[in-house]
Symmetry: C2
Subunit: 431 residues, 2 copies
Amino acid sequence: MFPLVILAAGKGRRMGETKPLVKLLGLTLLERTILAFKEAGIDKFYVVVGYKKDVVSKHVEELKKNYGIDIDVIENDEWEKGNGTSVLAVRNYVKKFFVTMVDHVFERNVIKDFVESIDGKKCVLLVEKNIEEVFEIEEATKVKIREEKIIDIGKGLKEYDAIDTGLFFFTEEIFGAIEEAMRKNNANVTDGVKILAEKGKMYWYAKKKGYWIDVDTKKALKVAEKLILKSIPKKEDGFISFYLNRKISLKISSKLCNFNISPNLMTTISFLVAIAGSIFFLSGKYLYTILGGIAIQIASIIDGCDGEIARMKFLASRYGAWFDTVLDRYADAIITTFITYNGWVIYKENIIWILGFFSLLGFIMASYSRKEYELRYGEKMHGGIMDKLSKRDIRLFSMFIGSFFNMAFEFMVAIAILHHVTIVWNLWRKK
Amino acid sequence: MFPLVILAAGKGRRMGETKPLVKLLGLTLLERTILAFKEAGIDKFYVVVGYKKDVVSKHVEELKKNYGIDIDVIENDEWEKGNGTSVLAVRNYVKKFFVTMVDHVFERNVIKDFVESIDGKKCVLLVEKNIEEVFEIEEATKVKIREEKIIDIGKGLKEYDAIDTGLFFFTEEIFGAIEEAMRKNNANVTDGVKILAEKGKMYWYAKKKGYWIDVDTKKALKVAEKLILKSIPKKEDGFISFYLNRKISLKISSKLCNFNISPNLMTTISFLVAIAGSIFFLSGKYLYTILGGIAIQIASIIDGCDGEIARMKFLASRYGAWFDTVLDRYADAIITTFITYNGWVIYKENIIWILGFFSLLGFIMASYSRKEYELRYGEKMHGGIMDKLSKRDIRLFSMFIGSFFNMAFEFMVAIAILHHVTIVWNLWRKK
C-alpha cells in the first residue's frame, strides 16, 4: 500500500488555531485523517509540519504512542511560500504516495473507494462532480476536465466541470512539476498539478456517494460535525431508532466523544440503566411502573451511543459489536422478566408467566433467526416492515408507552406476538 | 469445469445385480456418484452404458428429471472387451475430462480436493498412498511412481508405491493410448494409462484424508455404508451427541434414507416429538414426568436425523440448516416452559418462574452468543469443554436424567447456570 503524506504545515488563516490540532467530535483533525486512512488500509504516514511545528510534532508523537501507527514527521521550513513546498519536503522519502490536506474531512467510504481505485501508474486527483453540494464554493479550487484527464485547475477558473477535493495520488512526476511552478513563483500543490495537467499527465477520479469538506472556518467545522453525525444512522435502524432515539443519542454521543469513554463502557452503562430501571416494575404500583417505562426508554436511547462513539472515533471493533449484542439480549431478558412479574402482581395468574416466556422467546428469537439466516446465507435478511417492527427499539418503546397505561405487560405481549409472526413469516417466505 | 465420464457399462461380476442401480444408503451408486461430483462443482456428466443398457439409461432419465442435471448417456456395445472401450466411446464428446468407475465411492472432500488440484494440462490419477488402509488389496490395481509421474501400473505389480483409486483426469492423449493398448489386446483403462506412463505422460495426485472404496462385493457394500456413516458426525458435536445420540440416530437415518423422507420433515417430526413429550411435564406427577423426560431425549436423538439424511443423500441446504436451528430453539423454549410449570406444581413459588426465565435465557443465549461471534469474527468459536457442555444434547439429556429423580426442574436450572457461565466466560476470555 502506498503511504499518505498529510500536509499540516500551513497556518489556518481563517480559524485562529493550530489547524491539525483542531478538535472535531473528540478527535483532532490530524488524528481523524490518520485513523480514516488507516481504516482504508494505509499503514505509513508522513506528516509535513511547519507552522507551530513543535506543537504539531508533539501531537504526532502522542498519536504514534496511542495507536501504534507508523508516522514520520517531516519539517518544512519554507511552508510560508505555499503548500507545494510541503510536497517537495517528502521528496527523499516517497516515490508514489497519496496526499491530503490535514483540514479536509472525508467520509470513510470516499477514502476507501479512492484508495482502491489507484493502480499506482499515474497522478490522480479526487474530484467532486456534484458542484452544487460543495460548501463555500467561492473558496474551492475548480477543475476543468477532458475525457479522463484534467486540463486546467485553479481557484479563478470561470468554466469548470468539477471541484478539487484536496485528495491526490502522485508519482515522482509531481516534484518536477512543483519545481517548475516555483520558478514562476507559484508554490502551491495545485500549481504543480496545473503543470502536470498542461502536459496531459494529470487524471481525475470522481467521488462517489459520501461527504467531504474543507474545514477552513468555525462554520465549516460545525458543518463537518453535522455531516459526520448524519452519516452514522444505519440502514437497518428501526423506526423508533431512526425517528426518535438517534436524534437524542447522537446529541449525547457528540458530547461524550470529547471524553475518554470507550464504546464498551457505554454498552455497560446502557445495560445497567436497563436493569436498574426495570427493577421499578417489580412493585406493580402505577407510579413505579411509569418510572420503569421511562428508564427502559432511556436505556434504549443510550444503547445507540456505543456504536455512535465507536464510529465517530474509529473505535469500532468486532468484540464491541458482539459484546453489545449479547448484553442487549440479557437486558431485554431481565426487562421482560420484571415486566412479567409486574403483570403477575396485577393479575396473579400462572398464564402471565407462560406469556412472559412467550414474550422472552419472541424477543430473542427474532434476532436469533436473523443472525442464523445471515450465517447460513452469507447476507443480511431484508425483511421489510415486518422486520423493522421486531427490533429492540420498537419493543422497548412499546413497553415504555404501555407503562403509562399501567399495561406494560399487555403491550409487551402484543409486541411479542408480532415478533413471533415475523419469525414464522420469514421462515415461510424463504422456503 | 471439466465434465465427468462415469464408466457404468460393465457387469458386476461379483455382485449379481446391475451395478449402477445398486442402492447404498438410499441412493443408487450412479446417483451417488453424480451428486457427489456435482457438489464438487462438476455440471456435465456422461454415463457410458453397456450391460443392461436399457435399465441403466432409464435410470439416468429419472435422475435427469429429478435433479435437473445435465447428463448424457453414451452407449458402448463393445463393453465386454474391457472398460477402455467405454472411454473410447466418449471420444467425440469430450477433450479433457474426469473419469470414474460407477462403483467407486469417495468421500466428498476427496473428490473436491482432486477436482480442485486439476489444471487441465496433463493426465492425472488419484492414488492412495496409505496402502494398508485399502479394502481387498489383492483386487486393487497397483501403481509404481517416480517423482511426480507414474511409471508402471497393473494388478500384478510386485513392487508398488500406491493404489489406483479409479478416479482419473484425462486429456485427449488417453484415446490414442487405449487404442495402442487394444492393438495388443488389452482393452482396460489401466492398459491405456500404462502406455501413457511408459511415455512419461501420466501423473499422480495423492488422496488426502477421507475414505474411498471399490464397491465390488456385498461385503464391500456394507463397508461402504459404514464408511459413510462414520464420516457424518461433526467435530462440534457435544459429548452426549457423540457418544450416545449419534449411534442411535445414524441407525435410524440409515433405515429412513431408503424412504422419501426429506430432512425438513425430520426436523418437523423431532420438533413435534419434543412438544408432545414435554406436555407430560404439565401434570407434575412423577410417572408422567419420567415419560416427558424420555420423550425429550428421543426428540434429541431424532434431531440428528435431519442433518444425517441430508448428508447421506446430498440434500443439505442452507434453508434446512436455518429451519432446524430455529425450530430447535423453539422446542427448547417449550420444553423449558413446561418443565418450569412442572417445578411450579411441585413448589408453588414465584421464584420457580424467575428461574425458568433464567434457564430459557441461558439455553438460547449460549447458542446466540456463539452465532453472533461467528458473524462478527468470521470463524467458529472454539470454546473447548465449556462450550461442549452448553449444547442442546447436554441440556436435554440433563432434563431426561433429572426426570427420573423427579427433579427435571432442578437439573434444568443447574445446566442453565453452566450455560450462563459459559457465555460470560467466553465474553471475558475474548476481551
